[in-house]
């Protein structure tokens, strides 16, 4: 018995949703274990063998928690914000091809879709900050919008470098174009592009050293300070889904996606391994550096990263155009 195409799509979407949520919950454990190792701690250990059931315990705990809505909050905006934040953060997984033909929708404008949808998270973020009617949350949301739009540009231009090299916006075509050599291995262009991508990711994900949004010592928990229970869980889920999707995109754009030795069915494994390496690299930075100031963050973006990534893109484009020898 074969299902009609729309039912097949629905099943695929359901499976992908479960995979993403499972992945995200377990990556939080990975990060906590990794951070603990860096600080000579053990990390979560008591729930299940070696703390393996910790993420499930966390989810259950958050589900049972009382939901406190501040009396002065804008109820509609406040309550809708977690959903508005979660949807774009998880939706970007839709276009990622995990292996040849294994992805929900291999759009012909995959990169553009990813970039466009991933920056929609600031709508949910600002809704949360505004709706809470809390000064910490409001300041954090303001900083967040300011920082995310500032780093969106270097992020886009860095992500366009592989697009120029591959000559396609389709994610699977970008992987195929790296069959000979990963884009990260292209002399100078690839390395600079990858570094720019990583720095812009750190900032766009509000990770240390760019975490002025949630800066514990000044803003408590940032825009989610008033959230509790399941709404808090949805925001955290969205945030981690976003950073993991961005790690996957980084692995795809610069590290050759599913390409690797061994049979084809190992592709998804290779891709996940590379994405986790990117994620751990970002985590490594997070637990090694101190937070930098707002003006420094904006100066790095507008005065250094933006012109540098535009120039890098132009150099890449010149090289590609010159080598292909098209046109005149």
């Amino acid at each position: 018995m074969t299902l009609p195409p729309i039912a097949q799509t629905a099943v695929a979407a359901f499976v992908l949703l479960n995979v993403v949520i499972g992945l995200v919950t377990y990556v939080t454990l990975l990060e906590r274990k990794f951070a603990a190792r860096m600080q000579s701690r053990i990390g979560p250990y008591y729930v299940g063998p070696h703390g393996l059931l910790q993420p499930i315990a966390d989810a259950l705990k958050l589900m049972m928690k009382e939901d406190v809505v501040p009396s002065s909050a804008d109820r509609w905006v406040y309550n809708l914000a977690p959903i508005a934040f979660l949807v774009p953060c998880v939706l970007i997984f839709a276009t990622l091809p995990f292996a040849p033909g294994l992805g929900l929708a291999d759009l012909n404008i995959g990169v553009l879709f990813f970039l466009a949808v991933s920056s929609l998270e600031i709508v949910g973020l600002f809704m949360g900050g505004w709706g809470s009617n809390n000064k910490y949350a409001m300041l954090s949301a303001m900083r967040g919008v300011n920082q995310i739009i500032s780093y969106d540009l270097p992020f886009v231009f860095a992500a366009l470098v592989p697009v120029v090299l591959a000559g396609s916006l389709q994610l699977s075509a970008i992987v195929t174009a790296q069959q000979g050599l990963w884009f990260a291995a292209y002399p100078v262009i690839g390395q600079l592009g990858f570094i720019a991508y990583l720095v812009a990711t750190l900032a766009a994900e509000n990770r240390v050293p760019f975490d002025i949004l949630e800066a514990e010592s000044e803003l408590v928990a940032g825009f989610r300070v008033e959230y509790s229970g399941m709404k808090f869980a949805l925001i955290q889920l969205g945030e981690y889904a976003h950073i993991i999707a961005t790690s996957y995109l980084g692995a795809l754009l610069f590290l050759g996606g599913w390409l690797g030795p061994g049979p084809a069915w190992l592709g998804a494994g290779w891709f996940t391994l590379k994405a986790m390496l990117v994620f751990l690299l970002l985590t490594w930075v997070r637990w090694s550096f101190v937070r930098i100031r707002v003006d420094q963050i904006l100066a790095i973006s507008w005065k250094l990263m933006l012109p540098a990534t535009v120039l890098l893109l132009l150099v890449t484009a010149f090289w590609v155009a010159w080598r292909s020898g098209g046109g005149a």
């Binding site: 589900m63 928690k65 707002v294």
Partner: protein, 117 residues
């Protein structure tokens, strides 16, 4: 448009997941509100005034420059795709365009718009 159908279905599933998990939490969780608990968090102090304040002009300027460069990015995406066939002439056209925007960037830099005050 059929390529986007899976994306729409996936988006619907995500919304459904969020709504269902919120509903389950609503069934399971206790609810014992009291006025002090529902006060806005401000390190235990009673908040003075609302948080809905006016926005400093600095944000506006950053947003303006952002729109300029975001438009540049929009122009660059199709350009990046045809670069192989259009070759160097297309490159020089875009280089000139980036040069003009670069002058604007330089002007904003000299005027101190990129400083955060």
């Amino acid at each position: 448009m059929s390529a986007y159908l899976p994306v729409a279905i996936f988006a619907a599933f995500i919304v459904a997941f969020a709504v269902v998990s919120l509903a389950v939490a609503w069934l399971l969780r206790p609810s014992r509100p009291d006025p002090v608990k529902l006060m806005n968090y401000e390190c235990g102090a009673e908040p003075i005034g609302s948080a809905w304040v006016q926005v400093p002009l600095g944000f506006y300027l950053v947003a303006l420059i952002f729109i300029v460069f975001d438009t540049l990015a929009v122009f660059m995406i199709p350009w990046a795709l045809v670069l192989r066939t259009a070759g160097l002439p297309a490159f020089w056209v875009m280089a000139g365009f980036v040069g003009i925007i670069g002058l604007g960037w330089l002007y904003a830099y000299r005027e101190g718009v990129l400083e955060w005050k």
